[in-house]
Symmetry: C2
Subunit: 242 residues, 2 copies
DNA sequence: CGGAATTTTGAGCGGAGTCAAACCCCGTGG
DNA sequence: CCACGGGGTTTGACTCCGCTCAAAATTCCG
């Protein structure tokens, strides 16, 4: 694994604790197998028994479930630096699918290699465990978002979350950032219909909170957007070190 | 920690891997501090920085979040044998509250003791990590439940989940089981109003799928209930050993 | 027995869904 | 270079699930 691919992962894992030289070396020596994906390509599907996990290097990935009626719910989105399916390290069969939302570049790391560094370096194991706990905190937050808020608030909340997470890995510029989500994707993430996503977007635009055009989002009024989305970012556990 | 308190925890952790004598001993020697709770009592609140986690010995506990508008979303329910707030072992500040739904008996275990056994026994660490991943799978499932299903299906799904989880720890009898949830609790778990929970319950009763009276639930027609709830239990990761 | 919590019922409203069509953008190929 | 096609976005009209606001009925419990 080369330094640039792993850069955002390191940033994330290392945020809390400072790793030793050996720990760093072990991470950098992880064998990693790069793949590129197109939108809709699956990384793993419900029912699979994967033998590797993947690190997102570029692009957006989602965790999705399909109901009997055929509708899709996106349970979470993953950004570069995330390891979305680390759970498969300890849970044999997948209960959810992971698929690329945008063109993506990912790196597969075998479970055996991950187990090896977890056994040798308990602090790395803890750091990886921690990332899965942050993922869980995000799922919980999504339950609240989908369960309690009206559509305006829901969409605002999601935009706030993505802005903070992408900002944390340096992917937000002054004038906005690329957010390669279709309105259908948003609908599946928010549990509302596409038609309603469209109308909700128009409302947020009319209020001057955001602009969202050509898959590029600009937050025009962060305080208002956070207010509307009832956004309280502690669940992202981004900088507990202070 | 005595054998009976820890019984259901052991069952859960040990389901996958068979522990060694030393590992067992380490678990049984964990210092544990018993507490009893009344409905509504908080174990920890959003913003807290706990120094211990808790094992549920008896009763029901929920993870809940309160929105700015004051509404409460329950993100998950926990049954005896669960360690709901194990996340605090690695995430310093709580992003969610845990509170007793029914009278409950819980056992606190200090983080330092947990860290000690995780460092000494990597397989115990993995087993604990695994339980947090199952919790995460349940959160994800709840996102889907709240996001995609209508109220009948949602309630049916929740009843199916609770039936399986309680059955897994031996708390389901032939003629039903105690499920100490008020309709308000159900409303907060499902993201629908109390009034609507009431009407939904009546519909499920009228269809002969369940009876629910005096906080006791009987599943009268499991196949139909599972069908209506679009229930596919793999996400509970209950018996992967087979 | 009395008060509080919980469950149930009724009436009316509105947010969000569905269905359908139009529009737009963009890449492809004739 | 333009016609074609397909995915994505937008609009309109109508419907309905689930919400709110009350109030009544019932159960729980000290």
């Amino acid at each position: 694994m080369n330094g640039s691919d792993i850069h955002s992962l390191l940033r994330k894992l290392d945020a809390e604790r400072r790793f030793t030289r050996d720990e760093m070396a072990a991470l950098l020596e992880l064998p990693i197998q790069i793949a590129t994906l197109q939108p809709g390509d699956h990384i793993v599907r419900e029912g699979d028994r994967p033998t590797k996990s993947c690190l997102i290097i570029e692009g957006l990935v989602c965790a999705s479930k399909t109901t009997a009626r055929g509708s899709r719910q996106i349970a979470s989105l993953y950004v570069p630096g995330d390891i979305p399916d680390l759970q498969s390290l300890h849970l044999e069969v997948m209960d959810i699918s992971f698929e690329a939302i945008s063109p993506a570049k990912i790196g597969f790391i075998s479970h055996s290699a991950l187990r090896r560094i977890c056994d040798s370096f308990p602090r790395l194991a803890s750091a990886l465990w921690r990332t899965t706990l942050v993922d869980a905190a995000i799922y919980r937050d999504w339950v609240t978002n989908v369960g309690q808020r009206d559509s305006d608030s829901r969409l605002a909340h999601l935009f706030c979350e993505l802005t903070m997470r992408l900002d944390a890995v340096g992917l937000v510029q002054e004038d906005g950032y690329d957010l390669p989500l279709t309105q259908t994707d948003l609908a599946d993430a928010l549990g509302i219909s596409v038609v309603h996503v469209n109308r909700t977007l128009q409302r947020l635009r009319r209020l001057g909170l955001i602009s969202f055009k050509n898959k590029r989002l600009t937050v025009l009024d962060w305080p208002q957007l956070a207010e509307m989305g009832d956004f309280e970012p502690s669940y992202l556990h981004l900088s507990e070190r202070v």
